[in-house]
């Protein structure tokens, strides 16, 4: 990035964001290192002091799709129905047949879920929000030939879109289907855990707009974070634990049929 561009960004942001910045202390201190021009070396957000994780409570998800809409708006995700940083799946499990659930995700849940099942069909139904698991041992990071996807010191798996070749190896390596190639840039994209927000003291767009609190951003390095109590008090699970990716998306109420 050139200095003049940074300056321009700075002025623009100052004009637009002054009020907002004054409002929240953390955001204001975050601003300091944006001003410093080398955000990664900023003193006020110390990446090494955080270890971000996501807590997803299936018992609370109502399938409104608010997270999907907020994510696409916040992160400028293409609107086509096969590009998602986060999406919601609907499971329908008949009887005890955990191996063959009916699953659908109409437009990733962006428009909600029109009712297609009957209350008395002897099955159970529930919603499962999905997103990048920000794995500690990410297969995607492992296979990237050039280091264009990496694990930041705070545990967030990020993409360097200015460096990505678009070889798509990481898309193949992700067991959870969390990555897509942005057709506008020909580079890979996926959930960044709203890195531009969480480093300013805000929560992610999906958590901010989840009406029931089914998604909670957590900082595992902050002893006061409620995520510790939540994991202690609930039976939590990660997706596809057999993949041993060190997933940091913890699910409560995860049914055995979910994959």
């Amino acid at each position: 990035m050139s200095d003049s561009r940074t300056d321009k960004n700075r002025r623009e942001f100052l004009l637009q964001g002054t009020k907002f910045i004054v409002l929240t202390g953390v955001a204001a201190s975050a601003w300091d290192y944006v001003l410093a021009g080398t955000p990664e070396a900023a003193p006020s957000y110390k990446a090494s002091q955080h270890w971000w994780a996501m807590m997803i409570d299936i018992e609370k998800c109502i399938g409104c799709g608010g997270c999907v809409r907020a994510c696409k708006a916040e992160n400028n995700v293409p609107l086509e129905p096969y590009y998602f940083r986060t999406w919601v799946e609907r499971y329908h499990v008949r009887g005890e047949d955990l191996a063959h659930p009916d699953v659908d995700t109409p437009n990733g849940g962006y428009d909600g879920f029109p009712e297609i099942y009957h209350a008395d069909d002897g099955a159970k139904s529930f919603f499962v929000p999905k997103m990048c698991n920000h794995c500690e041992h990410s297969p995607c990071v492992q296979v990237c030939p050039v280091g264009a996807t990496f694990e930041a010191p705070d545990g967030v798996v990020l993409v360097d879109s200015a460096y990505c070749l678009g070889c798509r190896y990481c898309v193949q390596a992700c067991p959870y289907g969390c990555r897509y190639i942005d057709p506008r840039t020909n580079t890979v994209d996926k959930c960044s855990l709203c890195y531009h927000r969480i480093t300013k003291g805000l929560t992610t767009a999906c958590c901010e707009t989840c009406p029931t609190g089914a998604r909670q951003l957590g900082d595992l390095r902050n002893p006061k974070d409620p995520i510790h109590a939540f994991i202690r008090e609930h039976k939590v699970q990660v997706l596809k634990p057999q993949m041993a990716t060190g997933s940091k998306a913890y699910y409560n109420g995860l049914d055995g049929s979910v994959r």
Partner: protein
């Protein structure tokens, strides 16, 4: 576009899975590098293992390997979202990534093994050509000789020694080149269709099979075109080695298949369904029956029966062609097949190949023809036959 993509999906796929990531170009890549590795291993049969009968194909095999190796990175390059950034693989290679090592293995194999070995083997011819030609042609040969005219017996003896040493290094290098291509797929634990430790070795043996078949065909076709007599001892020997390699290859593939069926892990039902439906033609019919069992059977005939020269030639021609088709189908089934099912094991998508698109059928055909064009130039420049009279 979105209507058609969604229409291709049966059952449930994670939404980001609907688009296939790796196209027919990525099918070409292991196919072409396999031909390189196989052709080189056939060449080394003569050099290192002293299988004298295959001598007539030695130089042709090396040139074939070079022609295909020069084309090998093109499908990858064409497939990248940002081809201009591919230099980063050399600048900041991620050592944990199998793909990052491609650049280095490729350069090593191209420069240190193939180009050097061909140069050493042809040095005498190059110097003689430089002496006898004129004009631009002479300049070209002079440049290739690095401006050194010396072809004393002692210098040629040294060349031969160094060349033999290079071939010995070259064999593990060829194994590395293609074994690692198998590792690119075999090491993806997220994909049960790919993830098996057998993948590198299956790739390797199928590479040897395809390379031997290609050189055998090239030798016969080039001989016909240049009205040289085909050495039956040579093609009989190659045919025999092809059969041996093919039996090992098929055994490994069946081992993989039986293992999968017996273990029947969480992915099995989904993959089994895929093989019986979407992959039936390309896997069961083209790859296994017509691309493996039939050519093995054909190649076994000359071992079991006393056949006329003409019949044997026909058999080798047919078996070689079927082998190439079968190995191509194998690469297709690995690369494309590995993307047709959902990692949720609940659904399938379809691969729709474009034609005149960047990753369509047309560029794929061009990329398959290109090595033959390069080979034609190489054969003109560096004639593979030792003397210009037909060999008896």
């Amino acid at each position: 576009m979105e209507e058609t993509l969604l229409a291709h999906v049966q059952g449930f796929m994670y939404p980001n899975e609907m688009e296939l990531q790796w196209s027919v170009l990525i099918v070409l890549y292991p196919f072409i590098t396999g031909l390189v590795a196989g052709a080189f291993i056939l060449a080394s049969l003569e050099r290192v293992f002293k299988v004298e009968a295959v001598t007539p194909t030695y130089r042709l095999a090396l040139l074939t390997a070079l022609a295909f190796l020069l084309v090998a990175p093109l499908p990858l390059q064409l497939h990248l979202g940002h081809p201009e950034r591919s230099i980063q693989m050399y600048l900041t290679p991620h050592t944990q990534s199998a793909m990052a090592m491609f650049g280095f293995v490729y350069l090593w194999y191209l420069m240190a093994v193939l180009v050097l070995e061909i140069w050493l083997d042809y040095r005498k011819d190059i110097v003689l050509a430089a002496r006898s030609s004129t004009g631009l042609k002479q300049k070209l040969y002079k440049a290739m000789s690095l401006g050194i005219d010396n072809i004393s017996p002692e210098s040629l003896r040294i060349d031969d020694k160094v060349g033999r040493f290079l071939t010995i290094i070259g064999i593990p290098s060829a194994f590395l080149l293609h074994g690692y291509v198998g590792f690119i797929f075999g090491s993806i634990k997220a994909n049960p269709w790919w993830s098996t430790p057998l993948m590198p070795i299956v790739f390797l043996f199928s590479a040897i099979v395809s390379g031997i078949a290609l050189v055998m065909l090239m030798y016969m076709v080039v001989s016909w075109f240049t009205r040289r007599e085909i050495s039956m001892e040579c093609v009989d020997t190659i045919g025999r080695y092809l059969m041996y390699a093919f039996i090992i290859d098929f055994t490994l593939e069946m081992l993989d298949l039986i293992h999968r069926m017996y273990e029947a892990d969480e992915s099995f039902k989904s993959l089994d369904f895929m093989v019986q439906t979407k992959l039936f033609t390309s896997q069961i019919l083209v790859q296994i029956i017509f691309g493996t069992l039939v050519p093995i059977g054909l190649l076994a005939l000359p071992q079991l029966l006393k056949l006329s020269e003409q019949a044997r030639k026909g058999i080798y021609l047919l078996a070689g062609s079927l082998t190439l088709i079968g190995i191509f189908a194998m690469r297709w089934n690995v690369v494309i097949g590995g993307q047709l099912f959902s990692k949720s094991f609940l659904g399938y998508t379809t691969y729709k190949m474009g034609f005149a698109t960047r990753e369509g059928l047309l560029p794929a055909i061009i990329l398959l023809v290109l090595p033959f064009a390069i080979l034609w130039v190489l054969v003109k420049l560096l004639p593979p036959w030792q003397d210009d009279t037909a060999k008896a």
